[in-house]
Symmetry: C2
Subunit: 183 residues, 2 copies
Amino acid sequence: MTIQYAILGFLSLQPMSGYDLKKMFQDSLTVHWSGNNNQIYRALVDLFDEGLVTREVIQQENYPARKVYSITENGRTALHRWVLSDPESPELKNNFLIQLTWADRLRPEELDHLLKQYDDEVENQILITRAPKQQELLAQARSPRERYLWEMILKNRTMRYETELTWIRNLRQELLKETEHHK
Amino acid sequence: MTIQYAILGFLSLQPMSGYDLKKMFQDSLTVHWSGNNNQIYRALVDLFDEGLVTREVIQQENYPARKVYSITENGRTALHRWVLSDPESPELKNNFLIQLTWADRLRPEELDHLLKQYDDEVENQILITRAPKQQELLAQARSPRERYLWEMILKNRTMRYETELTWIRNLRQELLKETEHHK
DNA sequence: AGATGCATGTAAATCGTTACATGATTCA
DNA sequence: TGAATCATGTAACGATTTACATGCATCT
C-alpha cells in the first residue's frame, strides 16, 4: 500500500486535488503508478478517514468543483515513519530477459534485430529522463539537500539505462563476432 | 499474460509437471513470479485447451500421480513468435527511490542509516546471483550460444546491482562531505 | 466539429499473492 | 514428533489497469 505514502509525499509539497495528483503520478518517473482514478480517489478517501489528510471543497466559476487535500501533522508523522522503514532492494523485472532466455532458436539476424530493438527502446528511456518536464520538477525542491537527492534519483535512472546499453552493445558485438567466425 | 510463455519456455527444455515448474519459477532470478500454484495450474489448463501442450498422467508408487506436460509443435511456434515480439524497456520499480524522494526531513544520521541499509540489501542480491543453484541451471543449456545467452542474462543482473552499489556509495560519500562541511 | 483539458467518480476485469485443503513419505 | 518433500488443486484477498459515465470550457 505504498500508493498512500506516495500521495502523502506529494501532498507534503503542497495541497492538491485528486486530479493534480493524477498528473503528478503520470509525470513522475520514479513513482510507478499509471495515475488511474480508481486508486487515487479511493486512497484519498482512506487517508481522510485515517486523519492523515484534510479536505476542502473549492467551487470554481467555469470548471467543476475541486476537492483539495492537505496533509495533517499526523500525515507528516506517518510519512516520516514510512521513509525510515526498511528499504527493499529494487525489483529487476525485465520481460525482455525472459524473451532472451528462449532466443537461441532464432537465426542470427533475427536475434540481432531483437537486440537492436531493445537497444532503441532503452535509448529512448534515457531521452525521457532528460526531458524538460523532469527539470521543472527539480525546481520544486525545498532545500539544497532535497534538490541534490532528486537529482541523484534522476541520475540513478540514467545510470541504470546506461548500464543496460553497455550490456546490450557488448552482447551484440560478441554475437556478431561469433557469426563472422562461422562463415 | 507472459506467464504462459514463461511456462512454454521451461517446457521447451523438457516435459515437466506443475510441481516441477513451481520449482523452476522459485529458482529463477529472471522469471519473476512467486511460483504460486494458482497461476501455474490454471495456466497449464489454459495452455492445454489451446493445444500448446499435451498432458500425460504418470502413476507413481509411493508418491501422488504426476501430470506431465509436454510442449507441442504449435506450442513451439507460439513461443518462437513471442520471443520475436517487440521488446519493452525494463520496468525500473524501486520503492526505495520513492522513500528517498521524501527523505529530506531526516537527520543526517537517519538518512545515512537508511542508505547503509539499502547498500546491504543490494550487496546481498549480488551474492544470490553468484549462488551455486544458478550455475547448475547453466548446465541445462542446449548449445554454446544458449549457454552464452544465459551467462549474459546473469551478468545483466550483477551489472545492475553493481551500478546500484556505485550509485549509493557515491551518494553516501557526498552527503557525508556536506555534513562535515557544516560542522 | 472534434479533440483536449478540467474534475469527479464507479464498474469490471485481470493479475498476483497468501492461505487453505489433502495425504502419503522421508529425514532429522 | 515435527518439518520438509512430493503432488494436486481451490478460495479469498489484494493490487492494478482499462473502460465507463458525466458535463462544461477551450482550443484547433
